[in-house]
Assembly symmetry: C2
Homo-oligomer: 270 residues x 2
């Protein structure tokens, strides 16, 4: 808690938001959203909620039954499962089959979408990178990876190679993307290295210092940008190795900071 | 929210507490508990939860399924109903049949008790009043009233007269108290006025400025202390009328402020 920004104490009239994960200790959304609420004098607070997969349904049904609960963010491993609790899905969540934000509508129904990909793409653009026509390899088709894949295709990527250990999940994603962008998306049995503008780690590998690298950086060409979506540590071993080889890197925090504005809009925090 | 104390923003590792009510806007527990957490550098936050009676079960089951959720406070109208969701009840909650605090035990079970009465009694004592051997009239046998009745008997009150519009609820309480303190507790069809050391409003009358008085103050004797458990407004019309007649008064806020230390102990916030 040391070092976290000061915000007004909740009172009886405070509206509630939550971020759901398992584990949840690592989430940074409360540290970013709560100062935003405070700055805008919005009487709301975002809290972390630790929930095991087997209890997700109970928790979400309970949260929906709370009168002053307005929305939630979702992280590993719940991004796929939460789609079943939304009454409607936005474009990215529909294609990706994964959501990371749900909001209560005025009529009491719930809408969901996935902003990981849009946040990631916005971060790359802000760093000066061009996605239109690019070739990219995405490693990891989990709850964030599927959203990144979708958003990169929406951003005009020409060729997307996706690698994931879970073959069924990967095939499912590629078939959905191929239906929308025929011939541009392929599953690959291991991370590609040649001719890449971008290679992205969207696996959890790198959260722990003892994790193996999600892919080798030795054979990457000079023009390849190595991106990671892991936020803690800020500089993963992968990014360190890539830097040592002179490659440009893109750390995970941008995906989240660029999403804050998207969340603000999604949750209608004016 | 203006004027509420600053507390550290929740982070991913923050533990959760809630106060449940319907409505919940008026609750003051978050404004008191959150500065306590901050002062003691406890990484926890208490948020308000608005829940309709029909949805109480869903909400409590959902809260119990949250890994970092440690306890809740309960206010109107849920103090009776929550007893069904506790695995064990403390002494006051057992006699009163009403609880205002639940905590998760190390084994995952839930314990409940009711501290309204103990807080109220502590407030009277701190104000210099003696309860041992006293005669009191309690108006209102709701979730707080039953706890106050129990705590006053535990504190050595000699004679307790209780009035409530809901006859079945009143009879139920009196029979429980009579079993423990035979002949000392009676139901009365309207508020008593003669020979009282204390008369206590434990009804919601006075929350709204247009509410009628819960009882008349004209016939009270000079020695009667007029107490109210309503916290907003701090000075109810009842207390104003009593003061105008020269009677000593005891406002509702003491019941809550004295409970904070009891909550701290119950929730093991060291």
């Amino acid at each position: 808690m040391s070092g976290s920004a000061a915000v007004p104490s909740p009172t009886g009239s405070t509206r509630l938001y939550a971020v759901l994960g398992h584990p949840v200790d690592q989430v940074m959304a409360p540290s970013l959203m709560n100062p935003l609420f405070a700055d805008r004098q919005i009487d709301a607070i975002m809290v972390p909620i630790e929930v095991e997969p087997a209890r997700l349904g109970s928790v979400i049904q309970g949260l929906k039954a709370i009168g002053n609960f307005d929305g939630l963010l979702v992280t590993v491993p719940h991004k796929f499962a939460v789609c079943a609790y939304a009454d409607r899905l936005g474009e990215t969540a529909t294609i990706a089959g994964s959501a990371n934000a749900l909001r209560r509508e005025a009529d009491g129904s719930w809408s969901a979408d996935n902003f990981d990909g849009a946040g990631f793409v916005a971060g790359l653009r802000k760093a000066g990178h061009t996605l239109q026509g690019a070739t990219a390899c995405l490693v990891g088709a989990g709850g964030a990876g599927v959203s990144i894949a979708t958003a990169m295709m929406l951003a005009g990527i020409e060729r997307l190679l996706i690698n994931d250990l879970a073959g069924d999940r990967l095939d499912h994603l590629v078939s959905r993307l191929d239906a929308r962008w025929p011939g541009k998306v392929s599953a690959v049995p291991q991370a590609a290295t040649a001719g890449l503008d971008f290679i992205i780690n969207a696996t959890p590998l790198g959260l722990k210092p003892t994790d193996p690298l999600p892919f080798a950086v030795e054979s990457l060409s000079e023009r390849t940008v190595v991106a990671d979506i892991i936020m803690k540590p800020a500089r993963t071993r992968l990014l360190g190795e890539a830097e040592r080889r002179g490659l440009r890197t893109h750390p995970g925090i941008h995906m989240l900071t660029e999403q804050i504005e998207l969340y603000r809009s999604f949750f209608r925090l004016h």
